[in-house]
Amino acid sequence: MNLLKCFNRLQSSFKKLKIFCFAFVQFFLLTAYVNAENNFVESEIIRQSSFKGKVVDENNLPLIGVSASVKGKSISTMTNAEGEFSLRAAVGDVVVFSYMGFETFEYPVRTLEPAFVKLVPTTSALNEVTVTALGIKREKKSLGYSVQEIKGEVFEKVKEPNIIASLTGQVAGLTVYNKTGTFQAPAFNIRGSSSILVVIDGVPMGTDTWSINPDDVDKIDVIKGATGAALYGAAGSNGVIMVTTKKGGNNPRGLSVNFNSSSVFNAGYVALPEYQTEYGQGLNGQYVDGTSYLHMWGPKLNQPDPTTPSGFVEFPQWNSPRDPVTGEKIPLPWITRNTNPIKEIMENGYTLNNSVSVGGNNDLGDFRVGYNDIYRKGNTPNTNLFNRTFDVSGGYKFYDKLKVDAKVSYNNLSSDNYEDVGYNWDNFILHIGNNLGANVDLEDLKNYWVPGQEGLTQRTWNPGRNNPYWHLNENIHVYNRDRFSGWVKANYEFSKHLNLTARISQVYNSLQQERKENKGNLASTSNLDGSYTNSSSRSTDMNADWLLRYNKKHFNETIGIDALIGGNARVINSRALSGGASSLILSDFYNLSNKADFNTASNSSSKKLVNSFYGTLNLDWKSKIYLGITGRNDWSSSLTRPNNSYFYPSFSLSGIVSEMVSLPRFVSFAKVRASWATGRNDVAAFWNDMVYSIGNFNGTPTASYGASLNSSNLMPDKTESAEVGLDLRFFNGRLGFDMAYYTKIDKDQISTTAISGASGFTGKRENGGGIITKGFEYSINGSPIRNTNFTWNSTVNLSYYKQYVHSLAPGQTKYGTYYRMGERINRVRGLEFERSESGDIIYAAGLPVLTTTYEPISSGEYVDPKLVYGFINNFRYKNWGLNMVIDGRVGGVMYNYMYANMMISGAAKQTAVDGVRDKQFIGTGVKVIGGELLKDVSGNVVYDSRQYAPNDVPVDYYAWVQTAYKNNYSVNAFDATYIKLREVALSYQIPKNWLKKTAIKNASVALVGRNLLLYTGVLYTDPDVGSDDAGQGPSVRNIGFNLNINL
C-alpha cells in the first residue's frame, strides 16, 4: 500500500516530474559524452597490459557487447563497437565468450597476442532461452507449447502509436484488426479469443496496450495457448503478450545513451470513398432545401444557361444570400463545388515519436531510464493524441545471493479531442460521408454558425445533418489517463539450484474524460441545447507473489528437475464518478454548473480479491524428452463458496527427435510437442449479487428487485485447450518450420438464459453452452541468402481457425440465438435479394424484392477469415537494410455500411455512371406473373407454383437503388480478402569510421512507410478493420523517417 501512496504522490507532482525527467535526460546526455571519453582513456591504459582481440560473427562482422570472462575469476568485459575487447588474462587462463544467439566459446589463452575469435550462431534451438510465465527463463526447446518471439528491432524503425498495430502479420495465430481513427486501439485476437493478457517483465498488466512503449521493448513473446499461460490463471487462458523490456544490463559496460526519433506523415489514402460529382442534393431530380431528409438525387450540376450571370443554371440554394430589400433568396449557380468532401475536409496528419534512454551496468547492478513521447496529429481536423512514457528500471546485487530489481513506469495518454467512431450520429464521417454532395461549397460551410446566432444555431446544408466543421469544433471528446505501474522484485539464491523470488507490483490508472457538446447539435440522438459530461475513474491492480524454484540434474545428469511453487495475491480496486449537465445555459462553456435543465451524477466502486497457489514440475530426460506439469488453484472473491476455489492443471510433453534418432544431415533439429491445459475464469466483482435498484416516487423511496436470477452456485467458466506441434530446422537452421494444430473449448460459459417470466424472473444466469475453436498455425522462416555483404531473412506466418458450437446451456436448443449443436458459428446473416428457383432476382412493380428476416445469406459465408497471413522480409546489404512486411487475410465477409449508405443517398460514384440516372431503369431479373408461394410459420416453403417472366417494369433509378441497397447483403457485403504492403523500412547504418571522432557509437537513418499499398475488392473502406466498417474514416498511407543514435 505504501507503493500506492508513492504512486499517488508521484502523480500529483506530475508536472514537476516532467521537468525533472527532461533535466535528468539532459544531464545524462552530457555526462554520457564525458564518460565515453573517460572510458576511452581508461581502456587505453588497460590495453597495454592485457589480453585483447576481436570477436566477429560468421560473416566476419564485429559483434558488439559479447561477454568475455576469465573462467574461474571475476574478471570480465564486453566487446566494444568494433567488436574489440581487452581484459586482464594470463597465459593458461580460459576466456569464455558468450553472446545471445551464438554458441558459447571457450578460448584457452596460450599467448598474449591479440586473438581473433569467430563465434558460431546457434544452429538449433538448443540454447535459445525464452521467457515463460511468471518471468521464468527456460530453454525454448524444452517447451511443449507454442510461443512466437518478436524482437524489439521490429518496433525500432517504424512506429505506431499503439504497439499492437506493429504486430500485424508478425505472429501466426494473432489476428490484428487495424482501425483508422486517431485514437483507436487495434482489435486483436489470439486463436479467436480477444481477451488477451499483457504481461510486462513477468508482471500481469491487464489488457491495456497503449502503455507499452515500443522503444522500451527488448522483445515480445506471444504465448498462444493456455498451457504456456496456465500459471497466469484466468486472465491468461486465452493467451499472453509477454513483453520483456530493455534493461541497463543489455548495454555494453559503462553508460550508453540511445536516441530514437521517428516522424511519419500522412501521404494519401489506400482506401477512400469515391463520390459522384454530377448531381447535387435533392430527390427525384429536384433540388430540396430545408425540410426534407436530403439525398444526392437532385438535379444535374453544371448545366449551361446563357441567361444567367454565371452561365450555368441558377436557383436559390441553402446558402443563398438574401436580397436585403425583398428578403428573397438570391439564385446561385448549380455547379460542382467539391469532388470528394471527405478528402477535402481531412487534413494531413502526422505522428512524431521521440525517445531517449540512458542505461548502464556493472558487475553489481544495472539501471535504465527511458522517455518516450508520441504525438499524433490526426488526419481528422482538430484531433490529436499524446502518449508519453517515462520508465526507470534498475537492479542491484546486494550480496552474491541477493539481487533486487525494480521498475517504475509512468504513462500519460491524452487527447484534446478525438473523433467519435462507430455507427452512430456522433461519428462525423457519417454526417458528411453519406449526405454531403458535390453542390456543397465546403469553404462556405466553414462559417458554421448562423450569423447573429453564433453559439446557438448551426448553419448547415442539410437540416438533419451536422455541419462537419461544427462537428469537428463543437463536439469534443477529451481524454486524459495517467497510468503508473511499478514492481519490485527480490531474488535470493540459496544455492545454484534453489532460489526464491518475491515480487510486488501495482498498476494504477486514473482516467478523466470529458464530453463537450455545444448548442446546435442536429444529430438525431443528441440534445439541441448542448450538454457536458465529466467522468473520472481510478483503478488499482496489485499483485504480490513469491516463487520458490528448484533446478538440478540428477542421476548422472540424466534426469533434470525444474520445480517451482508459488503464490499470488491480487487486489483489484476501482472507483468511478461521473457528472453531467444537460442543456447548457451559456454556449461553449463547459462546467457542471452551466445547466439549464438538470445535473446527473453517478458513481460506482468495486473491489475484488484473487488469491492463488501454484506449482510446476518440469522433468527432462537427457535433454531429449521434456515433461511439464502445472497446477494452479485460485480463490476469487467474486464467486460464492465453495465455487470460489477452483483448480486447473496443464500438461505438456515434447521430444527432441533429432537427438533420439538419426535424421538426414539436412535436418538439423526436429521437435514434436503436445500439450493440454485447462483454465478457469471467474466473474467481475459484484457481478453475481442479487440486488435492488432504488428510486423514489415523488420523494417516497422505492425499490425493485433485479429481473435476472443470479445463480448462487455459479462456477467459473472453463477453457480446455489441446495442441500438437512440430518444430523443424534444416540446413543448420537456415530454414525453419513450425506448425501447430490446436483445439480450444470454451465451455460452461456464463450467460443469462431467458426463462418463463411466471417463474418470477425473466432470465437466469448460469453456466451454459460452449464453443470449440479448431485451428492451424504455420510459421516458416529462412535465410535464403547469408554472406558477408548480403543477407536475406524471410518469415511467413499462416493461420486459420473455425469455431463450432460445442455444448448448449441446460434446457436450450440453440447456442445464443442462432446456432444449433455442432454448427459452425459466425455465419453471415442478413437480408438479400429474393430469388427465383433459377437464381434470378424477383421484382415487384419494378423494384427488387428482399428477404425479410436476418437468415444466413445464401452464399453460406462466415465472418471469420479463411486465412490470415504475414510475409516478412529483411534484407541487409553492407550498411543498408530493407525490412518489408506484407500481410493480409483471405475470405471472411465484411458488411460495408459506408458503401451502402452512399449508394442509397446517391453520393457514391457508382450511382452516376453511364447516365444511368437520366433514363428509366429496368432491373435485371424476373417478375411473378402467376402462381403462389406458401410458407409455414417457420418460413419453410410449403409449395411454390409461381411463374415468372423477365422484369420489364421501368422505375426511377433512385427508387431501384434505395430498395436494392437497403440492408442488402447481396450488394453491400464484400469478400474481405485483402493484401497489404504493411511496412517498408529502408535503413542505413552510418559507417563506424565516420563516427570515430564523435561520442556516437552507432547511428542509423531510415526511410519508413506504413500502410503503403492495399489490394482488395472492398470498395470505399479498408477491410483491415474487420467484419463491419462501422462508418470508419479513410485509411491513410504513412511515410516518414527514423533516426537512431547510440552514444
Binding site: S606, F613, F697, T702, A703, L709, S756, G757, A758, G760
Partner: protein
C-alpha cells in the same frame, strides 16, 4: 533441502490458510442487497395502481381515436399479452421475504397477499389459466411453472384475500403508503371490496360448490366488523399524479389524447339519460364554436369502428375529452377500486339474491357516489336519479351493468370491458337469441380485425411459448384448443 522445506513451509501454510481472507469484508457498494419492506411496498403500489392508458378504455367504447392510433385494441385485434404482472409479483415476493427476514410489521405480509391476489386476478382476466402455485419459484429451480386452472387460481386467490384481511389490522398506520397516506383500515377495506369484485366476476359460477360464491359474498357483507368495506369516495383506491418530472399524469405531455372523441356507445346513453357527467367527461366540439356545455344536444360523438378517414373528417365537430384530462400535469387521480363500483357490485348481489339489501338504494348510491367524484352538486344528482335512470327492477341487471360501466369511465383499467364480457351471455351461447349481447350494447363497426366480434381475451405471451412450451400447450389445449382471442375462459362459462 529438508531443512529448507521446514524453514519455508510456513509460507505455504500462510498462503493456504489465508486464501479467502478478507472475502467477506467486501460489500457491494453500488447496489443494495437489502431494503426496507416499505420501499418495496411503495414500488409495488406504484406499478400496480399507476393509471392504465387507453387500451381498456377504447375497447370499452368510451371514446374513439380519430387518426387511427397505434393500438390494436381499437380494432378488437387483441394480440399477445405480456406477463408483466409477474415483474411486480417478483417484488411482492421480495416484500414477503424481506418482511420475514427483517421481522417487519405483519401488515406488510397482508399487503403482499393482497397484491399477489390483485395481480393474479388482473392477469387471469386477460388470458385465462396462468401459473400460480408453481409461479415465482425460479430460485427453487422451477423455471417452467405449470399453469393452474382458473378455478384453482380463484379458490387460492380468495383465500389469500381472506388471509390478507386477517393480517391487516383495523387500526394503525403503514410506512411507504402512496395510496392511502398510511391508513391501514383503508387497505383492509380495499382488500374486502376487491374480494367482492372478484366474487361478482365469478357470477357465472354461482352453482360451483367448491367456491360458494354467494355464501362467501354474504359472509363479507354480513360481518362488517371483521370485513370492513369502503364507505365513501374517501375510501377509493386511487393513484395520484404530481407535477414533478416522472410522476406526471400519463397524458401530461401527450398530443395524442387530443385526438380522442366521444364514442357514440357512451354518448347516446349519457344524452338519453340526461347524465350530468357528460360535461365532466367531454368538452363541447370545437366547431361550431360557442356550444353550451349544459346543453346535451351540442355533444356529438363518433361511432366505434369507423374508418379513420371518417373519424378524422368529423374531428372538429365532435366532442373531445374534457380538457382536464389533457396536458395537465396532475390530471385526475386514477381510480382502481372504488366505492361506487362496490355499490353496483352490491346492487347486483342483492338483485341475484346473494345478499338481502335493497337493490335500488345500492344502485342509487352507486350513481350518486360516481357523480360526487366529479363534484356534481347533490341537487343535480337527485334530479338525474329521478329521471331516465330511475331503477326499474324489470331491467335491473341491464341498468346496474350500464351504470357500473359508465362509472368506469377513465378508471379501473379493463374492468369496464371485463364486466361487459361477463354480461355478454349470448356470446357464450350463440344458439340462444334471447340472451343479452352484453350491457350496454356495443357497436361493431366496419373496422374490426376480429371477424366482427369483440374478443374475450388476449393471447399468451410469445416468449412463454418458447420458454414454457409444454405447460402452455397443455393449458391452451384444455381451455381453448388454440390460443384464440375469442376463446371462452372458465370464469365466463355458466355452470
Amino acid at each position: 533441502m529438508i531443512k529448507l522445506f521446514y524453514k519455508y513451509s510456513f509460507l505455504l501454510i500462510l498462503v493456504l490458510s489465508s486464501c479467502t481472507k478478507g472475502f467477506d469484508d467486501i460489500e457491494n457498494s453500488n447496489n443494495s442487497t437489502i431494503v426496507p419492506p416499505s420501499t418495496l411496498f411503495t414500488g409495488i403500489s406504484r406499478s400496480t395502481f399507476v393509471g392504465l392508458g387507453e387500451a381498456g378504455q377504447q375497447s370499452a367504447q368510451f371514446f374513439v381515436h380519430t387518426n387511427g392510433g397505434a393500438l390494436d385494441e381499437i380494432t378488437y385485434f387483441f394480440r399477445r399479452n405480456n406477463f408483466s404482472e409477474y415483474d411486480i409479483l417478483r417484488n411482492v415476493e421480495r416484500l414477503r421475504i424481506e418482511t420475514i427476514n427483517q421481522k417487519a410489521p405483519e401488515h406488510y405480509l397482508g399487503l403482499a397477499k393482497f397484491f399477489k391476489a390483485y395481480l393474479m386476478v388482473q392477469l387471469t382476466q386477460k388470458v385465462g389459466d396462468i401459473p400460480y402455485s408453481d409461479a415465482l419459484k425460479a430460485d427453487e429451480n422451477v423455471v417452467r411453472p405449470k399453469y393452474d386452472t382458473q378455478k384453482d387460481l380463484y379458490i387460492a386467490v380468495l383465500r389469500e384475500l381472506d388471509e390478507a384481511n386477517d393480517l391487516i389490522p383495523a387500526t394503525g398506520t403503514v410506512t411507504g403508503d402512496i395510496i392511502f397516506d398510511g391508513t391501514l383500515i383503508k387497505w383492509k377495506k380495499l382488500v374486502n371490496t376487491f374480494k367482492l369484485r372478484v366474487l361478482m366476476s365469478l357470477s357465472q359460477k354461482e352453482a360451483d360448490t367448491d367456491i360458494n360464491v354467494a355464501t362467501q359474498f354474504a359472509n363479507i357483507v354480513n360481518n362488517p366488523t371483521k370485513y370492513p368495506l369502503m364507505q365513501s369516495n374517501a375510501d377509493n383506491a386511487m393513484f395520484k399524479y404530481y407535477d414533478v418530472s416522472g410522476f406526471r399524469h400519463f397524458w401530461a405531455s401527450s398530443t395524442d389524447a387530443l385526438n380522442y372523441r366521444m364514442c357514440t356507445t357512451l354518448g347516446d346513453i349519457l344524452k338519453a339519460n340526461q347524465d350530468p357527467r357528460i360535461q365532466k367527461f367531454f368538452n363541447v366540439p370545437a366547431s361550431p364554436a360557442g356550444g353550451n356545455p349544459a346543453d346535451f344536444s351540442v355533444y356529438k360523438s363518433i361511432d366505434h369502428g369507423v374508418p379513420t378517414s371518417t373519424s378524422s373528417s368529423i374531428q372538429t365537430t365532435t366532442s373531445p375529452l374534457n380538457s382536464r384530462y389533457i396536458g395537465s400535469a396532475t390530471g385526475e387521480p386514477y381510480i382502481q377500486v372504488s366505492y361506487h363500483e362496490l355499490q353496483f357490485v352490491l346492487a347486483e348481489a342483492a338483485f341475484r339474491g346473494w345478499i338481502t339489501g335493497d337493490v335500488e338504494s345500492y344502485y342509487n348510491e352507486g350513481i350518486r357516489s360516481s357523480c360526487r367524484f366529479y363534484s356534481i352538486p347533490d341537487a343535480t344528482i337527485n334530479t338525474f336519479l329521478a329521471g331516465n335512470v330511475k331503477y326499474d327492477a324489470t331491467k335491473g341487471l341491464q341498468q346496474i351493468s350500464t351504470q357500473r360501466w359508465i362509472g368506469y369511465f377513465m378508471n379501473s383499467g379493463y374492468e369496464a370491458l371485463w364486466n361487459h364480457r361477463r354480461t355478454r351471455a349470448r356470446g357464450f351461447d350463440p344458439s340462444n337469441p334471447n340472451l343479452p349481447l352484453g350491457y350496454p350494447t356495443f357497436n361493431i363497426g366496419p373496422v374490426n380485425n376480429n371477424d366482427g366480434k369483440i374478443p374475450n381475451r388476449y393471447q399468451y405471451p410469445e416468449n412463454e411459448g418458447r420458454l414454457n412450451t409444454e405447460n402452455l400447450t397443455e393449458a391452451v389445449q384444455r381451455q381453448f384448443g388454440t390460443d384464440d382471442i375469442n376463446g371462452i375462459m372458465w370464469s365466463l362459462i355458466k355452470l
